[in-house]
């Protein structure tokens, strides 16, 4: 299958008073048409910056320092802002974390969705635009769209706002949808609805989705593939089944063990000790070594390469080296749920 989006050895640096923050370090992955890829990691691990780099929406102090972004086989790494504008919305769209700040509070919802349509088709007649807006609102599950066309964001609840943001993102039939923690600001019940909506849209329109989250529990519902990020790097990537039932990286183990759902009856929740390292001067060896109870001597000397486990499953840990001692994963398999 031809990859819709291909990231090759992407690195992003951000200038800060403390020095250059290496937010994304040497990340490579592919996104196939019609799949949901989830990127999971703690805050500060570079997952949002990765998304922004793909859309080229980096802050002024940020810069892509190496690697390539291939969309539909075309290298867009050096595209100018003008060229990117033509792609945004059409090729990829962004759903932000906080729906309140993503919407303009002074413009009715319907008009904001219409605006997103008109950017790419400025000559579309008014009536057709209106009909498109209504069908988009229906698609994302906003009931009574005719009445709600004229309502303002403050009339909407959090879940409805997030639906509106998704309608705007889907306005020009993008091939890729980047959703940056779309449910973090929402309640459990609404969260489940939005995740189902994401899946439904992906089935209906065949949109490939990159879903960014910090919660492995949330991701299980709709991800086809999962990538675990730590300190600016992807440390494990595989299909959802492989990641949940057969995790290989100690960081993935730690993330899963800290979920209360997997700790039933246990006296204390397992935690990952310590904090993620600063990315101003990231260690040359494995960045997770200090927090890793399974760390080997090797982890303190050299960055582990990506070891292949199956055709789709890769993990960067020295534990997978043939010379390493065998460690039984503390979690995984279907028995633990």
């Amino acid at each position: 299958m031809e990859a819709l989006l291909k990231i090759e050895n992407l690195s992003v640096g951000i200038k800060s008073p403390a020095g250059k923050v290496q937010a994304v370090r040497d990340v490579s992955f592919e996104l196939h048409p019609g799949e949901v890829l989830a990127i999971v990691g703690e805050s500060g691990c570079g997952k949002s910056m990765l998304c922004k780099a793909i859309m080229k929406l980096l802050p002024k102090s940020g810069k892509i320092e190496g690697g390539r972004i291939l969309a539909n086989g075309i290298d867009i790494t050096n595209y100018s802002e003008k060229d990117m504008r033509k792609l945004r919305g059409k090729l990829f769209s962004f759903v932000f974390q906080d729906p309140m700040s993503a919407l303009n509070p002074t413009i009715p919802i319907g008009q904001q969705i219409a605006e997103a349509i008109l950017v790419h088709e400025p000559k579309l007649p008014k009536e057709q635009v209106y009909n498109r807006v209504i069908s988009l609102m229906e698609l994302v599950g906003i009931r009574q769209p005719h009445e709600r066309y004229k309502l303002y964001p403050y009339n909407f609840s959090g879940g409805m706002r997030q639906r509106s943001v998704m309608a705007i993102a889907l306005a020009s039939n993008p091939k890729i949808l980047l959703a940056d923690e779309p449910t973090t600001a929402l309640d459990v019940t609404i969260q489940a609805q939005i995740l189902d909506l994401l899946k439904e849209i992906q089935v209906k329109l065949g949109t490939a989705t990159i879903l960014v989250s910090h919660d492995l529990g949330v991701v299980a519902r709709c991800a086809d593939r999962v990538a675990i990020m730590y300190a600016g790097k992807i440390v494990e990537i595989g299909t959802a089944e492989e990641i949940y039932y057969d995790p290989r990286h100690p960081y993935t183990w730690g993330l899963m063990q800290s979920l209360p759902a997997l700790n039933k009856g246990r006296d204390e929740l397992k935690t990952i000790p310590g904090m993620p390292p600063s990315l101003v001067n990231p260690p040359a060896h494995d960045a997770f070594a200090y927090r890793n109870e399974y760390a080997l001597e090797m982890d303190y000397h050299q960055q582990p390469p990506m070891f292949q486990i199956t055709d789709t499953h890769y993990a960067a840990t020295w534990l997978l080296d043939p010379r390493a001692p065998k460690v039984a994963p503390p979690i995984g398999g279907k028995a633990n749920v």
Binding site: G44, V188, A220, S258, L259, L269, M275
Partner: protein
């Protein structure tokens, strides 16, 4: 254990929006918290759980109802004034957003010592600074943070400082209003462990407010479910999760994400029909300790 510390009776709170409009944020809520237990309060945003917490802490004055703490009605100004020292010293609250609940112009050491200074409590460990260092150590941070400002800390560290400030008073009742909602999963686990430790080793009674039901299941002894200002179900945790009675509780429980892709994809979800919600039900005891809001006539 069975001594009742906090008794909330028919609590109602209404926010006046204008002359003609008002929001009934809390509507006739009654529950009791026993000494030494962790009581969870869950519900979607806007269900009134934070308002209940703030009424208990005397931040809001309830429109109707009584809150008895150690038998003292904290809503009655006269009774409150007579006992205000005890009330202020033994009840502490932790807010959801630690970025706005800590004074950004004070150092961590000052923030932690402030409640003790206000109540003129002699620091048991010699100096306020030593006390600050001890409390920080207790919540899992070292004393190098004493001279830092909240802006220099990460979200998880700030939340710990807020907890250290509340714990410095050795409170009998700790009200935690969504203390982990804004934190990462691995940090959440650390904070939850801390609460569990406080409760087990120091006997603090905790009112834990959250919308993450898996956390509540793990942490709390008893859980109350709120919906639109009403308490719709109240039961011991195991009982509630195994045998939910109210349709809203069922919908809420079915929305908890489970970290298992195959099971999760095939799991049916229960939707809750807003229109079917009956505000005028009666809080009935279905099983010992298990209360449900339901219509009187279908008993």
């Amino acid at each position: 254990m069975s001594e009742i510390l906090l008794d909330v009776q028919h609590l109602s709170h209404m926010f006046r929006l204008s002359k003609h409009a008002a929001i009934q944020a809390v509507d006739d809520v009654s529950f009791q918290i026993k000494k030494g237990e962790i009581f969870g309060l869950v519900g979607e945003s806007g269900s009134g759980k934070s308002t209940v917490a703030r009424c208990i802490m005397n931040v809001f004055k309830p429109t109707a109802g009584k809150i008895l703490y150690h038998g003292i009605n904290v809503c009655d100004p006269k009774e409150f004034r007579r006992n205000h020292k005890m009330l202020e010293a033994t009840r502490q609250i932790i807010f959801q957003d630690s970025a706005s609940s800590l004074n950004r112009r004070m150092t961590v050491a000052d923030i932690i010592a402030e409640p003790m200074q206000i109540h003129r409590i002699k620091p048991p460990r010699g100096s306020y600074r030593a006390e600050g260092a001890f409390q920080l150590y207790y919540v899992g941070m070292d004393d190098s943070y004493l001279d830092k400002y909240p802006a220099e800390l990460s979200g998880g560290q700030r939340q710990r400082v807020a907890i250290a400030r509340a714990l410095s008073m050795e409170p009998e009742l700790l009200v935690a209003d969504e203390p982990v909602a804004s934190l990462d999963v691995s940090i959440q686990a650390q904070i939850i462990n801390l609460f569990k430790h406080c409760n087990r080793d120091h006997g603090h009674t905790i009112l834990f407010i959250a919308h993450d039901l898996s956390m509540v299941e793990y942490l709390c002894d008893r859980v109350g479910v709120m919906y639109r200002g009403k308490l719709v179900e109240l039961a011991p945790t195991g009982e509630l999760y195994a045998n939910p009675q109210h349709p809203y509780t069922r919908a809420l429980l079915s929305a908890i994400p489970i970290p298992d892709p195959i099971a999760e994809r095939n799991r049916p979800k229960t939707e809750f029909d807003e229109l079917s919600f009956d505000k005028d039900g009666v809080f009935t005891e279905m099983a010992p300790g298990h209360f449900v809001l339901r219509k009187e006539n279908n008993r």
